[in-house]
């Protein structure tokens, strides 16, 4: 699996879920938004698992030690297309 392609898709899905999460702070009973938030969150969970299995942990809950400290860190320039 292409790391950058997967990270891009994961970021897009996570962003959609986050945007709905913010919207739901001020519209907490919007059924349609709640449904969409659930859908995007579930997809984000699947993609996170897929990404972590191939490329290492995204949070401390999914791994420690060498797997966690592995370069590159998010602020570093990467040659690949992501």
């Amino acid at each position: 699996m292409d790391k950058c392609k997967l990270l891009r898709e994961l970021s897009a899905v996570k962003f959609a879920a986050w945007e709905l999460h913010l919207y739901l702070d001020t519209h907490p009973c919007d059924e349609k938004a709640l449904e969409m938030h659930k859908k995007y969150s579930e997809r984000a969970k699947e993609l996170t698992e897929e990404y972590e299995e191939c490329f290492g942990p995204l949070t401390h809950k999914s791994g420690s030690g060498l797997a966690w400290i592995k370069d590159p860190w998010p602020w570093e320039y990467k040659e690949c297309d992501c």
């Binding site: 970021s11 962003f15 913010l22 702070d25 001020t26 949070t59 602020w75 570093e76 320039y77």
Partner: protein, 209 residues
């Protein structure tokens, strides 16, 4: 509590370093309308929020601002990598370099270090939300100014993303202000401080009558 996620909210991948740009973009790291000020403003103000919607909103936007701080840091970091002394001298980056080398320090483009004086936490929900609305617009203007100075699409894309977030946060804060004023005496929103005078909401007042 907080947990780190080892990814940026939006990708930052800048092929060509440019220390001249780094010197203006760093204002959104530690400047008066930057992401650090935004995050600290909302984290500080949230304790005075009288409604659950606003406690959630301030917490969530403060958290998102931290991820924007990380993105701006990444932009400045990548714009200043692999510099030669000649490039540092020619670009005017020497004034930053002498104090910080290429370390990332919270400072305005003018050279003024970050200060809590950039923000207020007034303990009055109406006052604080008005500051928040203004803060989002000030940050949006700063990003517009940056976009006028930048041609490189690698830099423009993440800056455009950050600019859009200011507009969405402005919208959400506007809704928050509407939520709180809807619950107050609409003849005079300013007769009370809704964060301090706990009985000023419509239902409580009606009960008191």
């Amino acid at each position: 509590m907080f947990q780190y996620e080892k990814k940026l909210q939006f990708p930052v991948k800048i092929k060509n370093p440019n220390p001249k740009l780094a010197q203006v973009i760093i204002s959104q790291f530690g400047g008066p309308d930057g992401e650090l000020a935004a995050s600290m403003r909302y984290f500080s103000q949230r304790y005075g929020m009288p409604l659950p919607e606003l406690k959630g909103l301030l917490t969530d936007i403060a958290t998102e601002e931290l991820s924007h701080l990380e993105m701006v840091g990444a932009i400045v970091y990548q714009l200043t990598r692999n510099l030669t002394i000649d490039e540092i001298k020619k670009s005017g980056f020497d004034k930053y370099y002498v104090d910080h080398t290429t370390g990332i320090y919270p400072v305005a483009a003018s050279g003024t270090p970050f200060s809590a004086m950039y923000l207020q936490s007034k303990g009055d929900v109406i006052t604080d939300l008005h500051e928040d609305l203004a803060a989002e617009q000030k940050a949006r203007t700063t990003y517009d100014n940056i976009l006028r100075l930048v041609d490189d699409p690698d830099v423009r894309e993440p800056i455009k993303f950050l600019r859009e977030r200011e507009i969405v946060h402005y919208q959400r804060f506007g809704e928050g202000l509407q939520l709180v004023t809807d619950k107050l005496d609409n003849k005079n929103f300013y007769a009370f401080n809704p964060s301090f005078d706990k009985n000023c909401f419509k239902n409580c007042r009606n009960r008191m009558k």
